[in-house]
């Protein structure tokens, strides 16, 4: 129940977002996780995920189009790394998350103020 707003917005958004589609595949999520640890060549990734080179190239292509991965060819080796977009998005997401919680905690503070006020009134009544 922690991030209901995020969930709701995600839920509403589902279905018309290329990046979402890019992330809907378990192999592609695995590739992103792997690249989060270290850069890797397509050959490395294909081996790791027990796939053909062609299959892995396809997955990397989808991630690249979504801006989640960048690739660079040096000699005969194509190296994949996390795209800048991914890193910027994480920072932006955390800031939005913070703002949502800030708003929610402002509401909490109001409820708590009201409770304090009531308690004071009740306390006074009891002592009288």
């Amino acid at each position: 129940m922690c991030d209901i707003l995020n969930h709701m917005v995600q839920y509403i958004r589902t279905g018309f977002d290329a990046s979402f589609a890019a992330l809907s595949d378990v192999t592609r999520r695995g590739v992103l996780e792997q690249l989060g640890r270290t850069d890797a060549s397509i050959t490395d990734l294909a081996e790791k995920f027990h796939m053909t080179l062609t299959g892995m190239k396809k997955h990397v292509g989808v991630l690249e189009q979504a801006g989640l991965v960048t690739t660079e060819k040096v000699g005969r080796v194509r190296t994949c790394k996390l795209g800048q977009r991914r890193l910027e998005e994480e920072a932006a997401w955390i800031e939005r998350y913070r703002q949502r919680w800030d708003a929610r905690f402002d509401e909490l503070a109001k409820v708590v103020e009201e409770l304090k006020r009531k308690e004071k009134v009740d306390g006074r009544k009891k002592r009288e």
């Binding site: 917005v9 995600q10 905690f105």
Partner: protein
């Protein structure tokens, strides 16, 4: 009298902090100007909880809120939004309940990828430091939560909705 004993660094306008502490952890903190006892009540009594958890200005409606706050007890929130095809349910179980100091619950609506949330209430000079710690089952689960929540490239309308939600929530909280 002892309000100044705690020498805090320059007071910040933004009281809430959020940080990814590790591959699997998100931490949000906030200080509330009240004893922990009262803050804890606001987290554990449904009639209070529903007053603040879903700000009305966000366009979200809380259709129901059930909370059985004890170890092993469950909670269930049903929430609707005009743009959502049907109401969404959020549910889980309380793993730890220590009055006035600690709450731990599971988030099971997302299946196995849901996080475990720990909230601690630390009272200092009449104020309460809230630390909300989300532990995800894997780096992948947290990455996915972040990625799917921030993939805004095409959903421009919904991005605006998202910003509107934040703006409304902020102004409602400050007024």
């Amino acid at each position: 009298m002892d309000a100044r004993r705690e020498s805090e660094p320059t007071p910040r306008k933004d009281l809430t902090t959020a940080e990814r502490k590790s591959d699997r952890e998100l931490v949000v903190t906030r200080t509330i100007n009240s004893p922990a006892r009262i803050v804890f009540d606001a987290w554990t009594k449904a009639e209070l909880f529903k007053q603040w958890w879903i700000p009305k200005s966000h366009g979200l409606s809380l259709l129901s809120c059930e909370m059985d706050v004890r170890v092993g007890g469950g909670y269930r929130l049903v929430i609707s939004h005009p743009a959502a095809p049907k109401p969404m349910e959020f549910f889980g179980r309380y793993l730890e309940v220590t009055p006035h100091s600690r709450l731990v619950w599971t988030n099971e609506e997302a299946g196995d990828s849901g996080q475990v949330t720990t909230v601690t209430f630390e009272e200092r000079s009449g104020k309460t430091l809230l630390v909300m710690h989300d532990l995800y089952p894997s780096k992948e689960a947290l990455d996915e939560a972040i990625a799917s929540g921030s993939t805004c490239g095409m959903g421009e309308t919904l991005e605006q909705l998202d910003e509107l939600i934040v703006a409304l929530g902020t102004s409602a909280g400050r007024s």
